[in-house]
C-alpha cells in the first residue's frame, strides 16, 4: 500500500489510476485489525507448517533444521505410524456421521416447519445441545453410557431391549464409535436442523399452493418443490458438517483419548498428539498440510457435485 503511495509517477494517467479513492485508505485501516489477526492465526501457521513439514525439526533426532524432502509426509502415509489408519477412521466416520446427522436434521427441520403450538419452545430446546461446549456433550454422554449407573443401559433394561449390559466406551471399537456418534449427533444435528429449517422457511408459499392445485401428493411435493428449493441450504450445511466431522477432535479427546488402543484416533487427534504431546513438530506439520488439502478437496468435490443443474 505504501509502495503505491511513494511510487514515482511516470505518467499522469498512471498516476490517476493508482491514486487513492476518497475513503479507501480509511477502509484498509479499518479492515486491517481483523485481517492481521486472522492472518496471524491462520496464514502464518499455514506457511510455518509448510516449511516445517519439509525440514527436520524433531528434537529427538537432533532437530538440525535440515531440508529432509518428503520424509515427514512418508510418516503420514506409512502404516507403522498409525496415521494412515487414523485418516481412514476419520473419513469413514465423516461419511457415516454426516449421513446420519443430515437425515435426522432434515426430518427435524420438516417437523419444526409445520404450524403447531409450542413450536418455538421445541426449537429452542432442540438448539440447546448445539450451544453448550463439546466437552459438556462428551461428559454428559460419558455419564449416560456408564455401564452401571448410566441412563442408556437403564433405558435399555427398562424397555427389555438387548445390550443393557454393554460397556460402551473403551471396551470395543464398535461400541466406542457408536458412543462417539451418539454424542456428536446429539450436538450437531440441532445445527443441521436449524440451518435446513431456515432454508425451508425461505421457500415461497405460492410454490406449495401451486403444487396443491396441480393435485401433487405429499411425496411429489417434497421431491418437486421442497428438495430443489432446499438445495442451497443443503449445500451450505453439508459443507459445514463434512468439514467439522473431518476435523473432529474435542469429543474424541474428552470421551476416548483415541482408545481402545488406537481404534478411535482421528487425524486431528494425531495432529494434536504430534504437536503437543510428543513434540514431533515435523510430522505434526505434515499432517496439518494433508488436513488442509483434504479440506480443500472436500469443498471442491461439493462444488462440482452440487452445482445447480440448470
Amino acid at each position: 500500500m505504501s509502495a503505491v503511495d511513494v511510487a514515482p509517477a511516470t505518467a499522469p494517467r498512471a498516476r490517476r489510476a493508482l491514486r487513492w479513492r476518497p475513503g479507501e485508505r480509511t477502509g484498509y485501516a479499518m479492515a486491517s485489525p481483523a485481517v492481521i489477526a486472522l492472518a496471524a492465526i491462520t496464514a502464518y501457521p499455514l506457511l510455518w507448517n509448510l516449511w516445517t513439514s519439509f525440514h527436520d525439526v524433531d528434537p529427538l533426532t537432533g532437530g538440525t533444521g535440515q531440508f529432509v524432502g518428503l520424509s515427514n509426509y512418508r510418516a503420514v502415509f506409512s502404516s507403522q505410524t498409525g496415521l494412515l489408519a487414523a485418516l481412514m477412521h476419520t473419513l469413514i466416520y465423516m461419511v457415516v456421521s454426516v449421513t446420519v446427522e443430515m437425515a435426522l436434521g432434515l426430518g427435524i427441520a420438516l417437523l419444526l416447519n409445520r404450524p403447531m403450538r409450542g413450536r418455538a419452545l421445541c426449537r429452542t430446546l432442540i438448539l440447546l445441545p448445539w450451544a453448550v461446549p463439546t466437552v459438556v456433550s462428551a461428559l454428559v454422554w460419558q455419564t449416560l453410557f456408564d455401564p452401571q449407573g448410566g441412563g442408556v443401559n437403564y433405558m435399555l433394561s427398562m424397555l427389555h431391549l438387548p445390550g443393557s449390559h454393554t460397556v460402551w466406551i473403551g471396551a470395543t471399537a464398535s461400541a466406542t464409535w457408536a458412543s462417539i456418534l451418539v454424542a456428536d449427533a446429539w450436538q450437531s444435528t440441532p445445527f443441521v436442523a436449524l440451518m435446513l429449517l431456515a432454508g425451508l422457511q425461505a421457500i415461497p408459499r405460492e410454490l406449495y399452493e401451486a403444487a396443491r392445485v396441480d393435485g401433487a401428493s405429499a411425496w411429489q411435493t417434497f421431491r418437486g418443490v421442497t428438495l430443489p428449493n432446499l438445495r442451497p441450504a443443503l449445500m451450505v450445511t453439508l459443507v459445514f458438517r463434512t468439514l467439522q466431522a473431518f476435523l473432529i477432535f474435542d469429543i474424541i479427546y474428552a470421551l476416548t483419548q483415541g482408545g481402545p488402543g488406537t481404534s478411535t484416533q482421528t487425524i486431528s487427534y494425531m495432529t494434536y498428539y504430534n504437536f503437543i504431546v510428543s513434540d514431533n513438530f515435523g510430522v505434526g506439520a505434515a499432517i496439518s498440510i494433508v488436513m488442509v488439502i483434504v479440506c480443500l478437496l472436500i469443498a471442491g468435490v461439493y462444488r462440482v457435485l452440487l452445482r445447480p443443474s440448470t
Partner: protein
C-alpha cells in the same frame, strides 16, 4: 325422546374414539416433534438430577430418576474445594475478552467492507470467511511456538487471541451485511455536521447497529466459551484452566467415577449458555442462519 337420546349418545360414543384416533393419526408429526424434543432434552435432565445426588447415594449405584435427598453439596464442593470457581472465572475472562475484540475488529472491518470504496474487497471478505474453516489442530503447533516465544504460553491471553478464529469470521460477515442495509445518508449528515468518519460510526451508526452487535456478541461469547482445543494446547497450570478443560481434568482424575461431582461441573459450565440461548434464541437463530443460508 329418551330412546332417541340414548341412541344419539350411543352413536356419539360409537364414533368418538374413531374421531380421536383419526385426529391422533393426523397429528403424529406433533407427537413425534415432542418426542424428539424430549430425547434432546433428557440428557440435560439426567445430568442435572444426578448433580443433586449425594456421594453416598451415588455410591449405592442405584439408578434413580430423582435423588431421595437432593443436595447442593456437590456444587459447594467443586466450586470452593476443588477450585472450579477459578476455572469458571477464567472462562468468563477469555470469552469476554474474545467477544470485546471481536466486536471492535468485526465492526471496523464490516463497516469498511460494506461502505468504503476499496480495491480487492471481495478478496478480503473471502479471506476472512475462509479463515473460519481453517483446521484448528493445524494451528496449535505453530501457535504453540509463537506463544512460547512471546512468553504467552500458559496465559489466558494466548487462548483469547486464538479464539478469534471461532468468532471473527462470523461476526465480520454479520456486521458487514448489517452495515450494507443501513441508509448511508445518516452518516453523511453527521459528517456534514463536522463528525469524522470514525466519529460518525461511533455516535450515529453504532446505536442503530446495536441489535446486530448484540447478536454478534452472544454468538461470540457462546463460541469462545466452548473452546477446548486451544485451552488444552496452551494452558498448563490447573489454576489457569478454563472451565471445559478443568471439568474434564477433574472428571478423569479427582472425581473419577463420582459422576455426581462431574455432573455438577457440567451443569455449572452449561448454565450460562443455556440461559443465553433461552433469553436470546431469536437472535442466535437469525445470526447463525442469516450468516450462512443467504
Amino acid at each position: 325422546m329418551t330412546a332417541a337420546g340414548i341412541a344419539g349418545r350411543a352413536q356419539t360414543a360409537g364414533w368418538r374414539p374413531a374421531r380421536v384416533a383419526a385426529r391422533l393419526r393426523r397429528s403424529w408429526p406433533s407427537w413425534l416433534l415432542i418426542l424428539v424434543t424430549l430425547l434432546f432434552t433428557a440428557p440435560f435432565l439426567w445430568v442435572f438430577t444426578h448433580s443433586l445426588e449425594s456421594s453416598a447415594e451415588w455410591a449405592q449405584n442405584k439408578t434413580v430418576l430423582w435423588p431421595h435427598a437432593p443436595t447442593l453439596a456437590n456444587y459447594r464442593a467443586v466450586l470452593f474445594k476443588d477450585g472450579f470457581l477459578t476455572n469458571v472465572a477464567n472462562s468468563v475472562i477469555v470469552a469476554a475478552a474474545t467477544t470485546a475484540a471481536t466486536l471492535v475488529f468485526g465492526s471496523l472491518a464490516g463497516y469498511a467492507l460494506a461502505r468504503l470504496p476499496m480495491r480487492g474487497k471481495s478478496a478480503i471478505l473471502g479471506f476472512i470467511l475462509l479463515a473460519g474453516f481453517f483446521p484448528l489442530t493445524a494451528m496449535i503447533g505453530p501457535l504453540f511456538k509463537v506463544m512460547s516465544r512471546l512468553g504467552l504460553l500458559d496465559t489466558l491471553t494466548a487462548v483469547s487471541i486464538s479464539d478469534l478464529i471461532y468468532t471473527l469470521p462470523l461476526a465480520t460477515w454479520l456486521l458487514a451485511s448489517l452495515f450494507a442495509q443501513l441508509p448511508e445518508e445518516i452518516e453523511e449528515a453527521a459528517m456534514v455536521d463536522g463528525c469524522t468518519r470514525l466519529g460518525a460510526l461511533r455516535r450515529v451508526v453504532a446505536p442503530l447497529a446495536a441489535p446486530a452487535l448484540a447478536t454478534a456478541a452472544v454468538l461470540s461469547f457462546i463460541l469462545a466459551w466452548s473452546d477446548f482445543t486451544f485451552s488444552l494446547s496452551f494452558l498448563q497450570d490447573e489454576s489457569h484452566f478454563t472451565a471445559p478443560l478443568a471439568m474434564l481434568q477433574l472428571g478423569q482424575t479427582k472425581f473419577y467415577t463420582y459422576y455426581n461431582l462431574t455432573d455438577a461441573t457440567v451443569v455449572i459450565t452449561a448454565l450460562p449458555i443455556v440461559v443465553l440461548v433461552l433469553v436470546m434464541q431469536r437472535r442466535i437463530v437469525s445470526g447463525l442462519t442469516g450468516g450462512a443460508v443467504k
